[in-house]
């Protein structure tokens, strides 16, 4: 029967061309938009995890209250013992300390007078312990536009746009002014050994990357840490596990009245990332819902028009003694076949587009020039297994639903009218 129906679909193009086209377009849009949104949201979340939030983060309670202000005066003391505890207690994660702070970069001319100046956002990472994988995590080697990574004390990396704006060359020294953990003024000279291009406007404009030991010296933060970040060794974020680890850790600290006691946050609990994840899921559901509804209405109408055109055919089949239910079933199977064909090409083309955007992305560099939000400047789609069915199943359902609604007319036909029609 299926072979018979397929032959019918193939021979009578006017019956199948538009439904297949419409279903395919809908599926294509669903697959493409879902893949693109997944890609963009995943990139934003991963970017935040790598640069700011980790999969888990430990801060002091007081620091956490004002975390966006990077209040290093409220950082954790005795960080080494806390780190050792975390590494022992939660070995499935890589725990690494980070310090972020603001400062003023001052580049001098030959006379020692200020030649150029600019505010810097400094991120200090432990680059001297390769097992922590900080350089790989931040993709520093690949982001290196020119120069090399810091190897000696007081060697730093600078964002490409920042370096260009200051007019600083590799090997040149500059002064950095800031405040220590205690609030004292702090000044040091650093040498630029590499220029990086993160592809994140907010970072390329003002970022400075230095070794953790240099930052500890600059800020008087020996055995102190602003933030201790944890990354799953598997490299993939497990929301449930992260939540349970954070809950267990915080439970143990619950009775500690010290406002500088450590507190742990999962990725979802930071920077509104939980909302982002929920938003991405809700948007996908919404897109699919709208698609199924819209396609059903369109296919219903197409089914009605097709049904009218095939009115005579149905009449003859009924007159020849075919049961109404049989015709209805055949119509539904036919619609499933049409839906399947449309969904197949829609999914195929949608996946192709996603693959292309996963490889090359859409460069919105210019549009994000004034952006302070940490988001990638190249938006990429992401191919996932769920894209194989996220459009396909709704495509089938929409086609079936449309035909089922349209086909109800078959049951409304009475034998008397049928013979009148045939006589006419």
């Amino acid at each position: 029967m299926i072979y018979f129906l397929l032959k019918g679909i193939w021979r009578d193009r006017s019956r199948s061309f538009f439904p297949i086209l419409v279903t395919g377009m809908g599926v294509l849009l669903t697959v493409f938009l879902s893949g693109f949104m997944q890609g963009v949201f995943n990139d934003i979340i991963e970017q935040n995890a790598r640069l700011e939030t980790g999969h888990l983060k430990v801060m002091s309670r007081a620091y956490a209250e004002l975390a966006s202000q990077k209040p290093n005066d409220l950082a954790l003391y005795e960080a080494d013992s806390l780190l050792a505890h975390l590494r022992q207690e939660y070995p499935e994660l890589i725990w690494t300390p980070r310090i972020r702070f603001g400062g003023l970069v001052d580049l001098a001319n030959a006379q020692g007078e200020t030649k150029a100046q600019g505010p810097a956002n400094v991120t200090a990472l432990d680059l001297s312990t390769p097992s922590l994988g900080e350089a790989q995590r931040l993709n520093l080697q690949k982001s290196l536009y020119k120069g090399r990574l810091p190897e000696q004390p007081q060697e730093v990396l600078m964002g490409e746009e920042f370096a260009r704006r200051l007019g600083i060359e590799l090997g040149q020294s500059f002064s950095l002014m800031g405040s220590t953990m205690e609030g004292s003024m702090s000044f040091r000279n650093y040498q630029l050994v590499g220029v990086i291009r993160f592809g994140v406007q907010a970072m390329d404009r003002s970022s400075l990357i230095m070794n953790l030991a240099d930052a500890e010296d600059f800020l008087d933060m020996q055995d102190a840490a602003a933030e201790i970040l944890g990354y799953f060794k598997s490299n993939s974020y497990s929301a449930e596990r992260a939540k349970s680890i954070a809950a267990a850790f915080n439970e143990k600290q619950a009775k500690n009245p010290d406002e500088f006691a450590p507190i742990m946050f999962s990725l979802r609990a930071q920077n509104n990332l939980g909302q982002y994840v929920d938003y991405a899921n809700n948007m996908s559901t919404l897109i699919i819902g709208i698609f199924v509804l819209a396609m059903s209405i369109v296919l219903w109408n197409m089914g009605l028009l097709g049904g009218l055109r095939r009115y005579k055919e149905f009449g003859i089949r009924l007159a020849l003694g075919e049961a109404k239910g049989q015709i209805y079933t055949a119509l539904c199977i036919e619609s499933l076949l049409i839906g399947g064909l449309g969904s197949f090409w829609g999914t195929l083309v949608g996946l192709g587009l996603c693959y292309y955007l996963q490889l090359y992305g859409i460069d919105l560099d210019g549009a994000l020039e004034q952006s302070n939000v940490m988001m990638p400047s190249v938006f990429r789609a992401k191919l996932t297994v769920e894209l194989l069915y996220i459009g396909f199943i709704p495509g089938l359902l929409a086609s079936l639903l449309g035909s089922m609604l349209a086909g109800l007319g078959i049951y409304q036909r009475s034998t008397a009218n049928l013979f009148k029609e045939l006589e006419a």
Binding site: A62, D73, L74, L104, D106, A108, G112, T114, Q117, P119, S175, M177, S179, T180, E182, G183, S184, M185, S186, F187, R188, N189, D220, E259, F260
Partner: protein, 245 residues
């Protein structure tokens, strides 16, 4: 009855000079008292943080309101750090880098040594009457003294504090309290002046408590240890070369 009337008239007569003072006269007299031709002072800044307090000691040479040179004496981390203010420019010298850095833009809004004072607060040099329109709100008692309460509203653009309220001591024409507000009306800083002492024919509050209303903590105490007025200060103190000496 006659006695009561007489004493009422007499007290009104005695109060008359105070009531007759306009807001601008009060501020002018306060400026006259507080601003000497030159000042050489040694002071301590006690910064009360959330984790404890620390004290920074400095010596300042100033001439008028445009020139000031500060040398930090203690603690060891700050010793040798110098600051020079010439008009609207501010340089900071650090012995660690042997560099003088000129601060500008948003850096001036940063806190000085983690205190409740910003560099911009330190830079403020124009007379209040030039920047604000003044209004006398009334009188009240503060720290056991009769004070005038004045409201100052900005009449020029770009001020850090578009609105202020000042409580001025009626005896010595010194401020005893000041509130600094944002344009929105939000209180930004609160200053309390105390321990007014005589220095020659002038009076100065020797302890000032600064409290940044947007910061947690107990604020910053600025304690004047020594003050010499109208002494000659050599010109080289107000030259950039003084920073590297």
């Amino acid at each position: 009855m006659k006695k009561i009337l007489c004493s009422l008239v007499l007290s009104l007569f005695m109060m008359a000079p105070n009531w007759a003072q306009t807001a601008s006269e009060i501020i002018a007299k306060m400026d006259e008292n507080m601003n000497a031709k030159t000042q050489i002072s040694r002071s301590q800044m006690v910064i009360h943080g959330r984790r404890g307090s620390r004290t920074v000691e400095s010596r300042t040479y100033s001439e008028g309101s445009q020139k000031a040179y500060t040398e930090y004496l203690a603690p060891a981390r700050e010793r040798g750090t110098k600051m020079l203010k010439l008009g609207d420019r501010l340089w900071i010298y650090s012995p660690a880098t042997d560099r003088s850095i000129q601060l500008s833009g948003h850096m001036l809004r940063q806190s000085v040594m983690g205190s409740d004072l910003s560099y911009k607060d330190m830079m403020e040099d124009r007379k209040l009457q030039e920047m604000y329109s003044l209004r006398l709100l009334g009188e009240e008692e503060l720290q056991g003294q009769q004070v005038w309460v004045l409201e100052l509203l900005a009449k020029v653009e770009g001020l850090s504090y578009p609105k202020r309220k000042i409580w001025v001591d009626q005896r010595y024409y010194v401020p005893l309290k000041e509130e600094l507000y944002a344009k929105s009306g939000q209180l930004l800083k609160e200053l309390t002046f105390s321990e007014v002492k005589a220095f020659g024919d002038r009076y100065y509050p020797t302890v000032t408590h600064y409290k940044d209303a947007l910061k947690k903590g107990k604020g910053t105490d600025f304690i004047l240890l020594e003050l010499a007025l109208d002494e000659a200060i050599p010109d080289h103190y107000f030259n950039k070369s003084v920073l590297k000496r």
